[in-house]
Symmetry: C2
């Protein structure tokens, strides 16, 4: 029995493998990786150079190598593919499910992917892969696999069991058998449990469940995720517009998609422009962080221009400067909150959505209440500390205007990004704070100018 | 065949239900909800008052009501439970899997939960639930269900099939049959497919797979999620310290946990203190947003105190004020980036971690490079715009110090929070920006004071 703690991936283990590669000590490598789960080998190879990885893959069974290739992260995979010939890739593809195979071939130049496909020994698999490569990455058709078990409505459980036996090698995880008519139209599903428990000679039509939830090939990935989550499904069949069964999507792909979305969102929200991890090189970490820092810097210089216009006022009333961080920080905080709430609505595709007008009314209502509360508090604190009524009044007035404006920009920005097909979570990052810093400063000094 | 688009949850539908409740038009309600998936009814009830929901639940089959109760979000569930008597709750619990049942009973006062348990007709279920209630929410034991199918190593496939038949009602989704010895120790697993395809009389020991990945009852939720993701599992068995099979965790619970974690993280990062959605009331939205805005405000007033100390300097060199947003914005951006990278390491529990010393070295190296690049750029821009060497020098020097300090605080804060058992993602939110605003201002004016 293998427990999750059995195989601990250590630097020492990785280093011993690297040393063995250098010394071409193949016996050690084969021995060391004997019985190790391919997912663990994948994780190790993510940290190796492409040449080191190829050396190891060449020593492993093709089937294990195939599993490793289909588990690799996209960046690593791309680098891997460059060092393999189309013939080598084809050998691995024979063992890889159609959905992962299509993903891998999509990373290759068209010329190479066509060569790989032409080299496949199984013509059915080749046509499956070509079929899947037609779909966009982010629709159900682009995520589904062609491998599944289907049974005709009129079959007996014995015929169905035979079909399962025939397909056993191609379909490792079955979950449900999909029930179709003579034209391959999806009619329902029957669980393996019910097939196992049915009496001999029972026909599928007497035991199947016609209440099957399916998605269309052109449904978006988010909708697929939402449906599988809501109905607690481990697999969902995919049909075309005519209801013909085209493939199925399994939960492991959805789990990966959810996790990747969450990571992408965190990076967007924290202004990191590449997919980096703490153990990446100093150079990669710097490169991932500098773009948004520079954009923020340039934005701040625009803010400096705004403040520069009011040099004389600041010179005569220097305490005006003390409240600059109050204005910019509040503008940023409010805008991030607002955009985050909109991003959540966009992500959850909640069925209950208020109308556009009601949403706008609520944004404004919340902004006015929050703005007034903060303004009151700011007025009280600044008057208590400085005893200057007019400054306190300016700060409070500017603050409530800033809260209102930041709420509106924070709400609208993700909606615009969504329309432009940019991940709306980008609106909860440094972009919105930089933008609102400038806006907030303009409002603050404009209010000061008008009220003095 | 039910497609995901078949049942569209509309305001109109919800309103018609509410109207029917008011008019006590039970026939309409029963008719309207006939054949609707319980998950869809749950979503509708999330928007209803507790009394309205109870009215509807009382009209539905207990089995459907049970599914709805086990799907409810925690907040809504708590409100629901207040209007049900222990006897009513017990009726529902009879139909609910042990893991969800334990979660529900954990929401009740001990007195009530004990009463509910005493009212259960099935003593095995009662003891299952009591057993599960012992575990913390965030360890494997607290997530697992007791319902599973196990087979003794020496059974034949026929005996196993009989066991499946006996348990069919209790275990809706089987995935794998777990193989145990006479002492209930987990030895491996066998897929339903292999049982179905095995010849009559085959013994489990000849077809089972002893390479089963399991978790311990006390393993943390994050580790369970990581294992199921990495090895693409749809269910994972849970064993105690002696290796005895205690329960199993299915992927639907893990999918929910991943999604909830991502939502919680987004809220923490955007300074929203309650779990709100756009269609919640103005009052709830305001309440969720005001705490962090007030904390940010108070932080900014502390920043104002710092600036206030340098009133005379600002009065004589008012352009000093223009660079305040540059300092605070950069401090915030750098700190958020740093903390986000650490949060990611903590979340992914990547096996390859650099040593503490190497991590520190890299944080400092990245900070120095980014700090110098930004300082150079800031020096160039400010000198070009103002032509004042000493101001440009002060800004550039302060900026590079701020980048270094913000990198360190951003890196250390999530580690401290993790140690304090607070979600480290909280370190990527308004807290870190507020803190670094003040720190940045102090550095800026200190540098100015020293260099003038």
């Amino acid at each position: 029995m293998e427990e999750i703690t059995t195989f601990e991936l250590t630097r020492a283990f990785a280093d011993s493998l690297k040393k063995a590669i250098e010394e071409q000590n193949n016996a050690f490598i084969v021995e060391a990786l004997q019985g190790v789960n391919p997912a663990d080998i994948t994780e190790t190879l993510e940290e190796f150079t492409t040449d080191e990885s190829k050396y190891i893959l060449d020593l492993l069974d093709t089937e294990i190598g195939a599993e490793i290739l289909s588990n690799l992260e996209e960046d690593t995979l791309k680098k891997f593919l460059r060092v393999f010939t189309p013939r080598e890739i084809a050998t691995y593809i024979e063992y890889i499910d159609s959905d992962d195979a299509a993903d891998i071939l999509n990373q290759l130049p068209v010329r190479d992917s066509e060569e790989v496909i032409s080299l496949l020994s199984n013509p059915e698999k080749a046509s499956h892969i070509i079929d899947l490569m037609r779909y966009d990455e982010d629709v159900a058709g682009g995520i589904m696999a062609k491998e599944l078990i289907k049974a005709n409505l009129n079959w007996t459980v014995e015929q169905t069991t035979e079909e399962i036996r025939d397909q056993a090698e191609n379909v490792s995880k079955i979950f449900s058998v999909y029930v179709v008519d003579d034209k391959n139209k999806l009619l329902g599903r029957v669980s393996l449990k019910n097939i196992l428990l049915a009496r001999r000679g029972t026909r599928i039509k007497d035991i199947y469940n016609d209440d099957v939830i399916s998605v269309k090939t052109y449904d978006e990935e988010e909708d697929v995720i939402a449906a599988m989550r809501k109905y607690d499904l481990e697999a969902i069949p995919v049909v075309n517009m005519q209801g013909v069964l085209m493939g199925r999507i399994t939960i492991d792909d959805v789990v990966d998609a959810i996790t990747e979305q969450a990571e992408e969102e965190r990076q967007l929200m924290s202004g990191i422009s590449e997919d980096v991890e703490e153990d990446d090189s100093v150079w990669m970490l710097t490169r991932a962080r500098i773009p948004w820092l520079v954009i923020g810097l340039i934005g701040s210089f625009l803010g400096a221009e705004v403040i520069g216009l009011f040099q004389n006022e600041i010179s005569s009333i220097p305490i005006m400067a003390a409240f600059i961080p109050l204005i910019t920080a509040t503008a940023g905080n409010v805008a991030i909150q607002s955009s985050s709430i909109v991003v959540q609505t966009l992500a959850s595709k909640s069925a209950f959505q208020d109308s556009a007008l009601k949403r706008l009314y609520k944004v404004i209502a919340v902004a006015i209440i929050n703005g007034l509360l903060l303004a009151l508090l700011a007025f009280a604190i600044s008057y208590f500390r400085r005893g200057d009524l007019s400054i306190s009044f300016i700060v409070a007035t500017a603050l409530s205007c800033v809260v209102l404006l930041a709420s509106l920009t924070g709400t609208i920005t993700p909606l615009i990004l969504e329309r432009l097909n940019i991940n709306p979570a980008a609106a909860s990052g440094p972009f919105i704070t930089t933008f609102n810093d400038i806006l907030g400063l303009a409002v603050y000094f404009a209010v000061a100018y008008l009220l003095f």
